[in-house]
Symmetry: C2
């Protein structure tokens, strides 16, 4: 075995608002021993995703929180380095939920072998994995894009947003992406083929968004909330659809924004414009995984869907990279290269 | 012809908040003359409905507002008293949009002959008309009731709410109705067959609602907003559906409620519980009119769906009755017996 020890990052304390560096703790422990039927996996890639902020809190949600003192959860791609499970062999590359650590032990449940010949293995954490499938299922099932419609998505250089905008283009929509800063906006148009990009940092952001959507908004793929929602809201066309995938701008909130309470305004627009707002998580559409893998795999191989990765080196860099993710500092799928 | 004059109620001024008596004006004018292809109709029944509050304001909506000085809009059942249209004959009973007046002229578009032999003609304004179809289409298309689920509806003795609760029962749901006062609550259970009724005037209303929904809420048919929404909101189950049909408690609002702004709380619940909120108006489902007429007609004839009417006498009583409607003073479908 390559190492005698295992480094891991645990949740040191539940954050109040923005996670602080000392809400995480790097620990070194003994290398775990795989028991009967188990495999030992050395992590190569760790995925960092906004949902992890939810796991750090103990508010009621669709998934249990990480316990204080426990290893942070996370999707991983790794290599089997020891196996007591007949389905897996040393050297296999596997997708799993190894968490923020250099080694993990698995009984094989939920572990999936990857074929390094078909695509770079870390894309199983991005465009061909959970973020890509989030984009695909949320957009197609809830957004229901039709040719000629206008789609808006924020965090648009991220792995979900960039896939949403590109799939909408394949369906004949006008795709408008929102991102922070001129460089990301250029990337949206030049690399990802969006029809327009709007910088949410611009003081006249709302006006720019309105100008980029001369025919209003038919689909808004919601992943940020806050100021972006405020700018999108008046532009909804009748019968607009809003897949609600995340509200990352609120994940660090410790209290509600000051008033007035705009709930009646929102419900009034839902009524008058006959909007559809529907929340989802990717596993609600688990039955569509094969469709996603086939269709998205084809699109990526054909170059019709492009993706971008933002790689940081070493497990110890994960907490700071994650803190940056919540502020939109990454460009593309944020990955930690662990080994 | 029976009268030489026509009395009508016009919009005298756009209300600020609650409509005042002098926002309406009773006028007497000459009896209109039907032109070529037109019919003259004497109004028998005028329907009063919450949507009319929207027509009194000039806020942007799905329908144009009534102009100041123009006759208030409204659905009517009347008798053809003169006809220059070969499709209609003197004595025909017709459903149309005659408005708040004793006589109206129509070119026949949107006018529908009723058969007094199949059902009391005024039911075409209630359980077998727009309110009944609102309940039917909103509940079945958006609410998607499944046996064993819990449905909640407010204004539950009204024509929409009572139909929603009863149709949900036919689909195997537990139906919980919300109404104002013990008498209406008794009626919900004893007459309409709801499983439980909750009085929204009770000081411990939210607690009572929670007790009436021991398994949470799967469908909330939204027609009032405000305090009822606040009590319903924490009780939503995962994947709950919310057909948004109206928010009558806000129709007289002149400003938003004080803070905090609960928009992020709402969107957070949409996400975490994967709620579906979808606004609609009945004509979005116009293609389902024949299905509705057949199925609801059967249910009403079989006594499986019951209805109740609240009749006021004389056109001049319409403004006060309408003001009461917005405060929940009616019990059952509010109709003005005009002639």
């Amino acid at each position: 075995m390559p190492d005698a020890q295992n480094r891991r990052i645990v949740l040191a304390s539940r954050p109040e608002g923005e996670p602080k560096p000392d809400d995480f703790r790097l620990e070194t422990g003994a290398l775990p021993e795989p028991g009967a039927g188990e495999v030992l996996i050395r992590t190569r890639w760790l995925s960092l995703d906004p949902y992890m902020r939810g796991r750090m809190s103990d508010a009621k949600s669709y998934a249990k929180p990480v316990e204080v003192g426990a290893v942070m959860e996370g999707g991983t791609v790794g290599e089997v380095v020891a196996s007591n499970n007949e389905r897996f062999h040393e050297g296999d590359i596997v997708l799993g939920q190894g968490g923020w650590q250099e080694h993990s032990v698995s009984d094989g449940k939920g572990l999936r072998k990857l074929d390094p010949g078909t695509a770079p293995v870390q894309t199983a954490l991005g465009v061909l994995g959970m973020p890509g499938m989030t984009a695909y299922t949320g957009l197609l099932n809830i957004g229901q894009p039709k040719a000629g419609e206008t789609l808006v998505v924020a965090a648009a250089t991220g792995p979900v947003g960039s896939a949403v905008g590109q799939i909408a283009k394949l369906k004949g929509c006008r795709s408008v992406g929102i991102a922070g800063g001129p460089e990301k906006c250029r990337m949206l148009v030049d690399e990802f083929g969006f029809d327009a990009a709007v910088d949410h940092r611009a003081p006249d952001f709302a006006e720019r968004l309105a100008n980029a959507c001369p025919n209003g908004i038919d689909i808004y793929f919601e992943n940020v909330g806050g100021r972006v929602w405020d700018a999108v809201f008046p532009l909804f066309n009748d019968f607009a659809r809003v897949p609600v995938c995340g509200i990352v701008s609120h994940y660090n909130d410790t209290e509600l924004p000051s008033g007035p309470d705009r709930t009646p305004q929102l419900m009034g627009a839902v009524l008058r414009k006959r909007l559809t707002l529907r929340g989802f998580i990717v596993w609600d559409f688990a039955s569509q995984q094969a469709d996603f893998a086939r269709e998205m795999g084809d699109w990526v191989r054909d170059g019709r869907i492009k993706y971008r990765e933002d790689v940081v080196d070493g497990l110890e860099a994960a907490p700071e990279a994650f803190r940056g993710l919540l502020k939109g500092r990454n460009t593309g799928k944020l990955l930690v290269k662990v080994a």
